[in-house]
């Protein structure tokens, strides 16, 4: 049974087993996405992931099966993350230059994560959605609830900044 079919089942009859299966199938991806958004803060990423699933459970009837269930979850996760940022007050999403620059060993995962942490959250989300999670620019725009052109410029600018950071 696909994720969308399981979601439909939960929405129709509140099937707890189907919801548990959905959480088990998707939690790794959702938490990994949030982990990157929170610059590697495991506790915060897990708190936001939990909020994401609670909201998803409450709003499952609104999932119309347009796009994948995972994309719908990423959309909720992104919106939860933004609510968290707003709660932190202004300037929390500014580019963080206090994070040490990646060492001169380009190509490693640690270097990528360190370089990613120095981008804005919108750049991190756009790059992650379009590359690691293989969504199209249009799908990423729907997930982030941004105009397509804005997502494209986040991707272009993020790529260039990342390249500069990785090249030292």
């Amino acid at each position: 049974m696909s994720e969308s079919e399981l979601a439909d089942r939960v929405a129709r009859s509140g099937d707890v087993v189907a919801f548990a299966t959905l959480v088990g199938l998707t939690q790794g991806r959702v938490r990994a996405f949030l982990l990157r958004l929170t610059r590697g803060n495991h506790t915060l990423a897990d708190d936001l992931a939990q909020e994401t699933y609670l909201e998803a459970h409450r709003k499952l009837a609104q999932f119309r099966g347009e796009g994948s269930f995972a994309a719908w979850l990423y959309r909720i996760a992104w919106s939860r993350f933004q609510m968290h940022l707003r709660g932190q007050g202004p300037h929390t999403d500014e580019l963080d230059d206090s994070i040490p620059a990646p060492p001169c060993d380009p190509g490693g995962r640690i270097d990528l994560e360190r370089a990613m942490a120095r981008l804005s959250s919108a750049e991190r989300a756009a790059l992650t959605l379009c590359y690691a999670l293989e969504y199209s620019h249009a799908e990423a725009a729907r997930i982030m609830d941004l105009p397509l052109g804005t997502v494209k410029s986040h991707v272009t600018r993020g790529r260039e900044r990342l390249r500069a950071l990785l090249e030292g």
Partner: protein, 98 residues
């Protein structure tokens, strides 16, 4: 760094954390929230019903209703309508469960 190198690096799958009880914690919170929501819903219905009965008792509508009740109880169309409503409710619930 070439474009291909950067693409390869960015396209690497995300490192997914292990579950380590995360799913169980989510399900426990969902269950807790659902039972609280059901309790609140029950209280809401109770309050609404009590308010309705109080409004009936305190307003002239109550007298009108009690005058009409014997006629309504004996009315065949009203009984058929009520039966259809009840049947629709149970069939709808059974359909949703499946």
């Amino acid at each position: 760094m070439s474009n291909d190198d950067l693409d390869r690096l960015l396209s690497a799958p995300l490192a997914e954390p292990e579950d380590r009880g995360f799913s169980a914690r989510v399900l426990a919170r969902v269950a807790r929230d659902s039972s609280r929501a059901a309790r609140l819903e029950g209280i809401g219905y109770g309050v609404a019903a009590a308010a309705f009965v109080a409004a009936l008792a305190l307003s002239p509508l109550g007298d009108v209703m009690s005058a009409m009740t014997p006629h309504l109880a004996g009315s065949q169309p009203v009984m058929v309508g009520a039966a259809i409503l009840i049947l629709t409710f149970f069939v709808g619930r059974e359909f949703a469960r499946r």
